[in-house]
Symmetry: C2
Subunit: 526 residues, 2 copies
């Protein structure tokens, strides 16, 4: 005879099953859109756009409707106990779903968050933002080509207004920039991000100054020359083979702007080849390997729910940067990889691992362009964008002031002043997409990469010898165990704390760059 | 001041808009699934299957739910005038939607048909058929590998029963085989199909007998040799270039079982290369060009509704077979194309166009395998399958009798008797998918191809000179004008009648093969 408790458990299990089926459906629609997006960048013929745009728009609407349907809200409320509303829950700091298994509670938590956000914003506003950014993109492109900020300014103003309105719908009492930031990084406080970025600025400005003053003469031409595309592709496959990419669950193609996408069953990498930039193709391939390797490490049985999905942008970026920088820009890596590269490119015969290492770690102190920046100056490019977009969204800065402020900050932080807006505040695509709050996740990713790498070495010992022998299993095993297999089970601060024993901190990143560049540039105080 | 009529027109326009939006949504979901299907065959890594199966199943459920939703039925009823039900309409032979523009009426007609069929069949039965065929596929594969019909027989029995039940839900009073046939060919009567197939059997059996008795000695080794894959691919691109494939709206890849898929904006071709079968790769590429060229010719502004979709399987197959056989297996084509092929394969230097023509048109009179059959014997392979599956579904034949009946028919119609079931009744995949009623559309396609080609030559004059010069625009223009641009505007008999001035008939096909093979094999009575 069933007890009341057993009956109630059975009914809850049934509710959870219905909820999970709904979540899986939403996830499958999103993953289908992911394949269409990959195809669009990599395979689709030029004139396929009109049909593809409609297909993607339909999938996006369906996903939105499934998520924001009354039934989703009812299932969430039932699973959470039914008595509390989202806002009373937030006010009390209560964690939802006390009676559920912890994995189920994590799924409920993630979907609740998306549900609350998507149901707060009127669909007309979402569509207006989408339409405005579609129009903004060509305006931005033309403005950049013609170095004419005025051409882009009115659209940028409109996007800032719309995104402020969007943030206001989600939480009228919160700092709108914090609300937008949470679209990309839901569980890291904006204060934490600001604190980290400020430490980067405070410490990197003097470090870069010291590098600029250094007399050290690093090898810069180790990879000079013209390198055949097909051989570069073969070498990119060598890179992926060497790092342990699972080809049964992925593939490599080329795309104008390299990216990775997919699921644990099918995590694809793209890269690009430029005749005169072999090093760039190698490091870009390692970077995308880091993303895809994270995806391949997500648990199979979590497919279709947040348990099988990657934690957000900063954690994803930590994986790409850990492999790109801590592995791919290290001395032992070049001791391992240079002989492989020489098989494809005999012209590298006279290059030494030390020369390759130096070439991969030059600091370009007069560079104005973020995507061409090195490991040090990169973060000042980010700090500048972060400060400007934060002030824009908060209403502390006018769009018309952006070019001047941008150039002033470049002069102050990096010691270089852009002569045009094209190589100044018009260089990035993000704002034309309405993406305010995205940039900082790049730096948070680097910071977290250093923190994870340090924790992994604490646990496993120094990885240098393994890397020198081309053995990456121990490092990757640590990442699988501490990051990948958890999917979205833990909120980001918990994930970081469990993996490293401490909260997100810039300490390890600063120690890493100070030691590395202090030695490379022979700096006295580092 | 709006009149009542104007108000009623406005409301109808509004209803149609809502209906069209729904139809477009269903179409976009289907086209997204099409991309996922293409990717699965062409790009997906081996282990991607579990996720892909779930994505496709989700899209299929969503599409089914959108189509069979009450709102679809209500919109259809409103647009049709609201008074009549589907069955009373059918009984009275009335065409729906008298007040709509004819294009809109066509969209309503096509969706009504799908709606009626999909809402008649209980979802559990659809799922049971789907699950049973998923299980049937490996059983069929194993049975074929081990030449063990008994291993497949129980599943085949179950599939026959389920599909009979399925047909019974759609129309309990109709011949169940006719109902199944209409899944693939909705507007051609089964009686018409039967009449055509019977004429093929009656006329091809003696023609093939005559060929078998002929002393003619056709060149068979014109394409003997080993041909490099990459060069074959380059030649496949030459084929597509030469025929006028629009690369801005398509691409060529390889797949184990060549197919075409996509929309008018993005109609892709796949082919395959075997070292010892250059001719097979060329003819297969031309065949797939025919399919993709039809898709590329569908009207852009019809995208998302049946007006922008291809008429059904027989018309699609008519396009592939017209290009493959009437163009690609003609003398003037080889006069045009052999010099192009020689550029890729200098070893063809001594082959003459006449030899290539003969090699492309041999009749293999001892062949047991449908997919390896020539233009003549092919249709007897189809007739045999058609007769057997029709009798199975009607209950006039037991599954256990299939092997014996199959072999007897091969002996009777083709003069060869399979020694094993593997090269007999287990050779095709179709029945394991639950596809009963599909096979005949291949032959109907050939028959229609000949009818269209004859009508096009009636209108434009003989195409031989143009083909010899590599000019295909006039032929393709005729197909665009008479077939492609109409999408599903007309039901199939109307489309055929408008294009050729007569109903579907085997006359032209029989005249074509009798003349062609009579000459090739030097047959007295032909």
């Amino acid at each position: 005879m069933a007890t009341d408790q057993a009956r109630s458990d059975a009914s809850e299990a049934d509710t959870y099953d219905r909820f999970e089926e709904r979540v899986q459906r939403i996830s499958n629609v999103g993953n289908a859109a992911g394949i269409l997006g990959w195809d669009q960048e990599v395979m689709m013929p030029d004139e396929g756009t009109p049909a593809r745009a409609q297909q993607l728009s339909t999938l996006s609407s369906i996903s939105h409707e499934l998520l924001t349907a009354d039934e989703t809200g009812e299932l969430l409320a039932e699973l959470e106990g039914g008595e509390t509303t989202a806002s009373s829950r937030e006010a009390s700091g209560e964690t939802a779903s006390g009676d559920l298994e912890s994995d189920q509670a994590a799924v409920v938590r993630e979907i609740r968050r998306r549900y609350d956000r998507e149901t707060s914003v009127p669909q007309e506003l979402v569509e207006e933002i989408s339409a405005t950014s579609s129009n903004a993109h060509p305006k931005w492109k033309q403005a950049k080509e013609e170095d004419d900020f005025e051409h882009f300014a009115p659209t940028l103003e409109k996007l800032v207004d719309l995104k402020r309105e969007y943030a206001n719908h989600i939480d009228p009492d919160a700092d709108p920039y914090a609300v937008l930031f949470a679209d990309y990084e839901p569980y890291i406080d904006l204060e934490t991000a600001e604190r980290v970025l400020e430490r980067l600025r405070e410490n990197l400005v003097p470090l870069i100054d010291a590098v600029q003053d250094s007399d050290a003469d690093l090898t810069t031409d180790a990879f000079a020359g013209a390198f055949d595309d097909d051989d570069q592709e073969a070498l990119a496959r060598d890179v992926l083979d060497s790092l342990g990419y699972d080809w049964g669950r992925g593939r490599l193609d080329t795309a104008p702007h390299p990216f990775s996408s997919g699921t644990q069953f099918d995590a694809r990498v793209t890269t690009r080849f430029e005749e005169d930039d072999l090093l760039g193709s190698i490091t870009s391939t390692i970077h995308e390997f880091g993303h895809a390797n994270y995806t391949q490490g997500l648990p199979d049985d979590g497919y279709g729910t947040p348990l099988g999905e990657a934690r957000d942008l900063s954690v994803h970026e930590s994986q790409s940067r850990l492999w790109e920088n801590h592995v791919g820009r290290s001395r032992p890596f070049w001791e391992h990889f240079l002989p492989i590269a020489r098989e494809r490119f005999p012209e590298l015969e006279d290059v030494t691992p030390e020369e390759a290492y130096e070439a991969a770690n030059q600091v370009h102190d007069d560079n104005l362009i973020r995507v061409e920046a090195d490991e040090l100056t990169y973060h000042l490019h980010i700090v500048i964008r972060f400060e400007i977009e934060r002030d824009l969204i908060r209403g502390d800065l006018e769009v018309s002031e952006v070019p001047e402020v941008w150039n002033d900050k470049y002069e102050e932080y990096l010691g270089v002043r852009p002569e045009t807006d094209a190589e100044g505040c018009l260089q990035d695509i993000h704002w034309s997409h309405g993406d305010f709050g995205y940039f900082s996740t790049y730096s948070l990713g680097s910071v977290l990469a250093a923190q994870l790498y340090a924790a992994a070495e604490d646990d496993c010992g120094d990885f240098d010898d393994g890397i020198r022998r081309g053995e990456f299993d121990e490092l990757n095993g640590w990442l699988r165990e501490n990051i990948h297999r958890h999917g979205k089970r833990y909120v980001t601060p918990d994930l970081i704390e469990r993996a490293t024993g401490e909260g997100l901190t810039a300490d390890h990143f600063l120690a890493y760059v100070e030691s590395k560049y202090g030695e490379l540039y022979d700096l006295e105080d580092y």
